[in-house]
């Protein structure tokens, strides 16, 4: 806290606007930077396939239950992958409850 912040608090003034500006800018850019039109279904399919190939090197996945999608919430876009694991390749069986994760 700076001297100025303290005085503002004591006088009940609004906090300085630069912080607000920074936060608003970060949100709006997170949105601007993901141009959905460039992520075509073709690209998404290709990406999904490559992700699965990598993961399948380490664990056995339940391919029936795999879900890869883009989800937008609070103006942030995320790539969400749900890849239920049937077993690790070392042989130890680990069932994953896919419903719980959905």
């Amino acid at each position: 806290m700076t001297l100025r912040d303290l005085i503002n608090k004591l006088l009940g003034r609004q906090p300085a606007s630069a912080n607000t500006a920074r936060e608003r800018l970060q949100l709006v850019l997170a949105h601007d930077r993901v141009d959905m039109s460039t992520l075509t279904t073709d690209l998404l399919d290709k990406m999904r396939k490559e992700i699965l190939d990598v993961v399948a090197k380490y664990v056995e996945i339940d391919f029936e239950e795999v879900a890869v999608s883009l989800e937008t919430e609070d103006r942030m876009t995320a790539l969400v992958a749900n890849l239920p694991i049937k077993r690790t390749l070392s042989g130890e069986i680990k069932f994953k409850d896919s419903e719980k994760n959905n």
Binding site: T2, L3, R4, S17
Partner: protein, 271 residues
């Protein structure tokens, strides 16, 4: 000469943030340091670079005449009398926008880069055709912005496009910096803008009424050698652009009046 020539796009996305003023001042400063420099007005819709340089009455041919083979490049170039290392290639009339293609623009900048150490391309605002044409012949870029929401947002869009066009390096200039507002945290800080855009910072330019006065006269600040706040900044940018290892001007050290000192006192961390 040709291979070490640097063709630099000066762009912003948002209009009115100070591209043309930077182009004019940087052009003069680079020329003054001994580098042959061409400034190319790529804002065909609303050309202004000639006015800022005080060359508006000496234009005979334009970039359009060069493309139409009405004249040779040398005939279209307007040399600056006081700074003979600097030449302006004026924009043609706005109708050029109807038929200009990126190839045309590339042809012009290639011609210029054969003859000059630096080619500065003053870009129009926006991210449409005018911008994409101007971009065509450029290998590197300077993105100009102001420490304000809308200017930074638009700069980010421009950076997104430049990144897909293999323009490198892309450096940042933050214009119209007001040290007191920044100290009061009523303006995005230099570090805020730099880190949000994640670009290397080439320099900052302080808000300075001398900029307007020099524009009125058609004599860029770097030409008159006047020791004004913005003038210092333009020189600093020109040195850094040519590779000199000089520090960026620090706005928090600029104000020297009692008021400035008081504002700094208020920024002291108390806990």
């Amino acid at each position: 000469m040709a291979n070490k020539s640097r063709t630099i796009l000066i762009c912003s996305g948002k209009g009115g943030v100070g591209k043309t003023t930077l182009t004019a001042n940087l052009g003069i400063a680079l020329a003054h340091s001994g580098a042959t420099t061409a400034v190319l007005d790529a804002d065909f819709g609303l050309r202004n670079l000639d006015l800022l340089l005080g060359l508006e009455n000496r234009i005979i041919y334009t970039a359009q005449d060069v493309l139409d083979s009405n004249c040779r490049l040398e005939q279209a170039l307007v040399r600056h009398k006081q700074e003979p290392n600097l030449a302006l290639l004026p924009a043609g009339d706005p109708r050029m926008l109807d038929w200009m293609k990126p190839e045309d623009m590339k042809k012009i900048s290639d011609l210029l880069s054969e003859k000059f150490d630096y080619v500065l391309v003053d870009c129009p605002a926006g991210v449409e055709d005018g911008f994409k044409n101007a971009l065509a012949g450029c290998k590197e870029a300077i993105v100009v912005t102001n420490p304000e929401l809308s200017a930074v947002r638009d700069a980010d869009r421009v950076v997104g496009i430049l990144n897909t066009c293999d323009v490198k390096p892309i450096q940042l200039v933050i214009n119209r910096v007001r040290p007191n507002m920044m100290a009061n945290q009523e303006m995005l800080s230099i570090e805020d803008v730099r880190s949000i855009l994640s670009l290397p910072l080439l320099g900052i330019v302080l808000e300075d009424e001398q900029v307007i006065i020099s524009t009125n006269r058609g004599e860029p600040l770097t030409l008159t050698g006047k020791d004004s706040p913005a003038s210092k900044c333009y020189l600093n940018i020109s040195q850094r652009l040519s590779g000199a290892d000089v520090p960026i001007i620090d706005p928090s050290k600029e104000g020297k009046s009692f008021k400035d000192k008081f504002i700094r006192l208020m920024q002291t961390k108390i806990f």
